[in-house]
Symmetry: D2
Subunit: 176 residues, 4 copies
């Protein structure tokens, strides 16, 4: 059966959002993209994450409860027939994946790890100019700890569009 959810997990500035946009362009069917950035955008400021001066992310108890409900909602969209790309940062590693695994039970999910060399990601963070410095380096390894993937891509020396093509090819092979 065809894939219903693609979960892209990677650290800040690893290139997930670019891959998601390329997938939306390349894949023949329409896919909706949701991720931690759009969740934070939906939150009241007082509940959203606080980013320390060195890029350390901390979230209050409200954040977790809101995120749990949001994950349920994203899963419900997939069950209602929308193809969904999840653009995520598993700050809790395997534990974060576990929460999604539970919510997405019964759906056909493709788990994709988006890796990027820590130093390269830090350079891209500097080039973007809209992120607190230090997040990229802090998250580069952390978010993959204990996480299991169907496929891994690495943006260190590979363009986002090419990573998206790899994922698209994998989807086609798997569903056939």
């Amino acid at each position: 059966m065809s894939t219903q959810v693609i979960v892209l997990n990677g650290g800040s500035s690893s290139g997930k959002s670019g891959i998601a946009r390329c997938l939306q362009s390349i894949l023949p069917d329409p896919w909706l993209t949701f991720g931690v950035d759009s969740l934070i955008e939906a939150m009241p400021r007082s509940s959203a994450v606080v980013i320390g001066p060195d890029g350390e992310v901390s979230a209050g108890p409200d954040f977790r409860a809101l995120e749990d409900a949001w994950i349920q909602g994203v899963a419900a969209m997939a069950r209602a027939g929308a193809r969904i790309i999840v653009d995520e940062v598993f700050l809790g590693g395997a534990e974060s994946q576990g929460r999604w695994l539970t919510a997405l039970a019964g759906l056909h999910v493709l788990w994709v790890g988006v890796r990027c060399d820590s130093e390269v990601a830090a350079g891209r963070e500097m080039a973007r100019g809209d992120r607190v410095r230090g997040m990229a380096a802090k998250q580069a390894e952390l978010v993959h700890q204990g996480v299991r993937y169907d496929l891994e891509v690495d943006t260190t020396a590979t363009e986002a569009v090419r990573c998206a093509r790899t994922i698209a090819a994998f989807l086609t092979t798997r569903s056939s």
Copy 2:
């Protein structure tokens, strides 16, 4: 029982998003805001709405199917315990409301009409500078046709924060 979903419906540049942000600041509990703008942001470009030179909005068949699944998902977030503000533009009037009514069945919903004089909304559209001109005027009356509300606010001569306080007061009264 306390309200789980607040639906704000109004035309483009009527001030819904400002009211939603003020509600998020004013209300004691955390509320998530989702709306047509965040839905369009989540879509591939080719599925999203096309806005004509005079502000006429048209959406393809993909849009409707994606929107339906998204509405189910937003309802699921509310059922999972998150308080939700929906920031919507009922281009189909009563028919649009009907789709939300079905999806939100069993939830405690507050339906709020956000009105704004057509000419004033057009002036604010000009002042924003990020919208195609003509949407505000076209939608000012259209989106309210046949829609039933628990409460209506009018931003023509009332600030967003004051409208938000009116809604917050109504919530308190209703739930007590």
Copy 3:
């Protein structure tokens, strides 16, 4: 002779940028808009203003030197024939105006004060959601201290587009 520079001065969230965009739409000739927001956008982060938790703005010594050169440049654009709208926040009141007066010497300038009731501006700051809270209230009176205007508008109960029409009418009268 016709006006070459329109300086709009007002506190944060007083509505200057909306008036500037309406002026660009309403006035028959093309006008360029520059302001403190575009200056900060042009700066390295380390030189830009630091906004404290209560909306207190502080700027380092680099900021002042860069700003001085930028003011010279904006004046040079007007001398080179471009009509310019300056969207400014005179945190130094009369002293800030003095710096612009010197730089704009010999040009035909319209000085416009953009006033807004402090509490109303604070409400709009909340509705915008993209500003640190407290700036609007702190700046509402401060920026007008000792500043002399050709014209004042007040957005407390008057829409931006209407304020822009008042300014446009004043320009026409003055130049005839």
Copy 4:
């Protein structure tokens, strides 16, 4: 004598803005960045460029006059003592450079060509998601025609931060 202006010229999605931001972080002195994007932001919509469905850029006669005055102003900022990075797209090739050469006469300028393989730039354009498709490919070669540089960098396989370091090293060597 030390460099006063760095002109980065390259096609859309070639990575100029990322290099500019990295330069602002890396260089010891504060540098202001201005470019065609900030110029368009300053213009009334009706004067700004029109981008066709295939990424073809066309500009009205107002655009040229406003741009000429803006170039004078940016040069004046440098003469007033600010170090300036110009983030430009020479759609007219050598003719565009000629206009800047005239305006910057007497200043110490570093001319940097920012190259990127056309297909790679088109892929990044897709990944960004905020540009009309086709601009990157159309401009990749065009903007360099007849333009003379002190230094060229190529982002096809080199990160923006590394290109910025190359430019920074060149600046140090040249001024010593």
